[in-house]
Amino acid sequence: MIDLLAARSQMAISLGFHIIFACIGMAMPFFMSMAHWRWLKTRDKLYLNLTKVWMRGVAIFFAMGAVSGTVLAFELGLLFPGFMEKAGPVIGLPFAWEGTAFFLEAIALGFYLYGWNKINQWVHWAAGLAMGVFGIASAFFVICANGWMNSPTGFDIVGDKWTNIDPIAAMFNPAALQQGIHMSIAAFAATGFGVAGIHAFLLFRERQDRLHAAAIRIALIFGTTAALLQPISGDLSAKMVADTQPEKFAAMESHFKTEKGAGLLIGGIPLEDERRVILGLRIPGMLSFLAHGDFDSEVTGLDAFPEEDWPPVIVVHVAFQVMVGIGFLLAGLSLLYLFIRWKKQQLLDHPWFLLLLIVCTPIGFIAVEAGWVVTEVGRQPWVVYKILRVADTVTPMPGLWIPLLLFTGMYVALTAVGAWLMARQIKSVRGLAPESEKDGL
């Protein structure tokens, strides 16, 4: 039991660490390409400096994302060999495509980082953009594999053999599209507000530096668009979960009893043993509407499932509330920003607005982590929904708490060093004011 817990924790920590870098690696090349585009069009040195500052960030995060992704690919088998033995052939296809996309991303990175003045400037610019495109593609493919764990399709089970494997049907499982879209948008929202927050901090310190104002503008083009689209994608995802994984949906909402005209719970703490929720706010009929598009429809509660198949309700519920809460907060902030840009330009570098952006720097990433907790913890006790239990796939090797400790220590150290490096990068940006002729790299 302790080994199972250790294996799951190690996987969770590795994923939690990787996902941050994956998000940045996916979104930031687009910010960088937009700055680069402006440099090529306007020849305003400011945009060249900004491009190079961001490029260094992309390089660091890409490398950390690449190595932590390698770890994840191996850990699937090292920790859950029983899962990979069964599922490898079924979901190997999206992994193969992910590998291809990732390969192309790394090649594009090589061209971009070192191609300044070596290749045609527009080919060079396109290489930067290609990084982002291939980054999104590889994220999409990996999420197809994760979607399959949530809604397995494309094979038959005869005895304990999996036969008639159709990798293409497995890849395009019912969860893949919604999950892929939701994650990609989340990456842009989190990175957009994250980058804007950091530059808001720098602008706060050095109000004359136009570079940071330009950076915030570009980052928020992506950040606000994503944050405003996310509620729509979230709604579609929730409907998909309600259809394909009713237990997860019930746990997200702490919905214990199957009922018609179910109310939407906002906040609240579920008491699993007593089957009730305290301190929550309920909007009547809303949950039925959100799940099935009809205020009177029936929403399956946890009571419809044997208790040993329930996910840990409180974890899933709280994570879901955090994710949705932050999602709406960012959407609201986006509207505020757009209003200010449209009507009250002079407020854009008002200290209070900058402070608001600074405070919101990490919250998009918190929402991303919370979202993964909902997806992954919400599927427990299954690794492949309703087919394979996590406990049946874990490696027979004992003492798994040792690698757990090692990896946790390593990732904690790397996070600390990464934060310290970021702080040093930020400190060094000061010298890059537009009049400075110093090159970014």
């Binding site: 190595v67 770890v71 690919a73 699937l76 033995e85 390969f103 790394a106 390593m410």
Partner: protein, 336 residues
């Protein structure tokens, strides 16, 4: 179809060793470089690696993906038996990649560089060493799925003299490759001489340790190893590798750039080919003493639909990847 996919996996592993291996080699080389030369060498290594190292290391992921996709039982068995060295390898990969990036992109070049360098060089050694332990364990064939003790199940298959010798051999080969590649990466004559000197030294080491691999292999009564010595193709590969040492040495002395590179990578390729040849058709060799029949690529293969879709992905992927890698190396590696 299954042979085609196995070939692809073989090519990925080979390219990982030839390109990614040389990256590790550059780190190992730095570990043994006298302090006075380290700074200059680091400059050359940074310049040589930075544009391609990430690409070089994806070959490993590709090999892994092919393995669990097409030969799921093989990967499950390897993942269980070699959990410990693979975990060490992963930590090495993370530390190495991060240290390399940090030392390159840190906004300030101060004393923190010392720590990045230490992490970079040590993990450059640790990673291929662990990989070598896994390879040694796989060649030796001591996997025992019915094992009851922790030692026989998770330690003994790779913790033995042969695996350790092979791991050292692999590190030496990687360093030899790196030194030979680096000769052409600098125009500074002093550094060039330094890399040539190193290349010859590591070449000598590879002869000594290569011999030790044969001796330990002989005494470990490995089935595969006996087959190696009786297979004409494998013997030919080993023989040619040994003979190529002479022109390799001469070309290095002549300060040639491309001929030693071609010879060194050719030698490495021959060793890998010799290994594949005796291994075929096994992916995990049998362990007669434990009654483990091993896994051939035919036993372990996934179903036809899986293989077809994978093959298609690999073919389309290659059409995209190979030309772009070729172009990448052309732009950054071929000096005119």
């Amino acid at each position: 179809m299954i042979e085609f996919i196995a070939l692809f996996m073989g090519i990925s592993i080979w390219l990982y060793c030839l390109l990614g291996g040389a990256d590790f080699g550059a780190g190992i080389l730095e570990l043994f470089t006298p302090k006075a030369m380290q700074k200059e060498q680091r400059k050359v290594v940074n310049k040589a690696l930075s544009s391609v190292w990430e690409v070089n290391h994806i070959w490993l992921i590709l090999a892994l993906v092919i393995c669990f996709n097409a030969f799921p039982k093989v990967w499950a068995q390897i993942a269980i038996t070699f959990h410990i060295p693979l975990t060490i390898m992963l930590m090495g990969i993370v530390c190495r990649g991060c240290a390399f990036t940090f030392r390159h992109y840190d906004a300030y070049k101060d004393e923190s560089q010392i720590y990045y360098n230490r992490f970079f060089t040590l993990s450059s050694l640790l990673t291929p060493f662990s990989l070598g332990l896994v390879a040694g364990g796989l060649i030796l064939g001591r996997i025992n799925p019915a094992a009851t003790s922790f030692n026989t199940a998770y330690i003994a298959p790779w913790f033995n003299l042969f695996s350790f010798t092979l791991a050292i051999f692999l590190c030496i080969l990687f360093t030899y490759l790196a030194s030979v590649y680096l000769v052409g990466e600098t125009s500074d004559q002093k550094l060039k001489s330094f890399f040539i000197f190193r290349a010859k030294r590591w070449m000598t080491a590879s002869i000594v340790v290569g011999g030790a691999v044969f001796i330990t292999g002989w005494f470990s009564h490995s089935d595969l190893f006996q087959r190696f010595l009786t297979s004409p193709v494998s013997l030919f590969c080993v023989g040619l590798t040994t003979l190529l040492l002479i022109p390799g040495w001469i070309a290095l002395n002549e300060r040639a750039i491309w001929i030693p590179r071609v010879i060194a990578s050719g030698q490495f390729t021959l060793i890998v080919l010799g290994w594949y040849n005796v291994e075929y058709p096994y992916l995990i060799p049998p362990s007669p003493q434990f009654g483990y029949p091993g896994l051939t690529l035919y036993d372990a293969a996934a179903s036809g639909a899986v293989l077809n879709s994978l093959a298609l992905a690999l073919i389309i992927g290659s059409l995209l990847i190979f030309p772009s890698i070729f172009y990448l190396f052309k732009v950054f590696k071929v000096r005119t």
